[in-house]
Symmetry: C2
Subunit: 196 residues, 2 copies
Amino acid sequence: MQEKEDWESRKRRAYERIFRDREIGYLDPDILPTLEAFFSWPNIFTKSSCSGRITVIDALMPWDRRNSTVMFKDHLGVTTAELEDLISKGALRRLWLVVQGPIVHAYAKDLNSAWELLRVCRSVGFKHSGILTKNANGFLVEVRSGVRMDHALYADRSENSALEKIVEVANEVLGKGKEKLNLLTKALQAYKLEQK
Amino acid sequence: MQEKEDWESRKRRAYERIFRDREIGYLDPDILPTLEAFFSWPNIFTKSSCSGRITVIDALMPWDRRNSTVMFKDHLGVTTAELEDLISKGALRRLWLVVQGPIVHAYAKDLNSAWELLRVCRSVGFKHSGILTKNANGFLVEVRSGVRMDHALYADRSENSALEKIVEVANEVLGKGKEKLNLLTKALQAYKLEQK
């Protein structure tokens, strides 16, 4: 019984953390219903999440974390004026416009719960989801879709003549991520009802 | 013992398949040493793989599979002339220049082998690797790095004024993927030696 209580108390602590994060402003404002849906599964809790965002980074490659600087970050979108402003400042390395879809890191108490979660997530298009590792919290499931854009920008404004269109596409990509997040929330809620 | 023989014979068939695929031209020519390294692990075999590639697709979104057309595909790179030619033909939806890093789908006979494989893959930067599912072949591990580029192109040549630079960056991204593939091959081989 000890182990079970341990896991339940980890889940409880993770839940309380969400509301502390929300007060500090760490939590993406639009992701709470999704996290509640994860927590409604008896054997699942979440540890970190992102509802999707647009960043502009100064890096040689868009996946570089070291040797990179985040110049802009927003969960709701970007404007042409913001992008022009960033471009006019120039870059040490290269400027990348990166749109990331929603990502949730969830822990499953046991392997069967992890498979069930993966099945539901994949059914609504989160097809890059998988179990990353196992630790004291359980099986870590990364929930991730294919929604993404990694667009190379140029330090010279004249070389980004289609900037308005790029901004339009980037915001549309971000929007597709939010749509998928809503589908995920609904699928997680429906599954829970199914089990009752 | 029956189950063990079953798995071994699945592994043997998967191995033979690689060489049939190679003859037909289905196998990426530069990935064979990597696959050999996977197969050198007693409890692992691979089912599908890509050494990394550049594609140009006509789609609303770069992750769309349905409602999309592959206009160009090459595992070695792209030239400005090729891209100009594609752009001049126009697009039904949107043109995306997509660079994908190496991806391998491997099966592990048991969960412990899957964790070990994930640990080694992650240690050389394949940090988006995870267990996708479980089936008769074992635990399916997707081995994938963050190497990727999804760049929006425009149907009007004049709007792609930095095309030479985009081509340079895309080929560099592809090259980074091949470097990571070499690191992976070496890490898989080293691990096998360690176990002897």
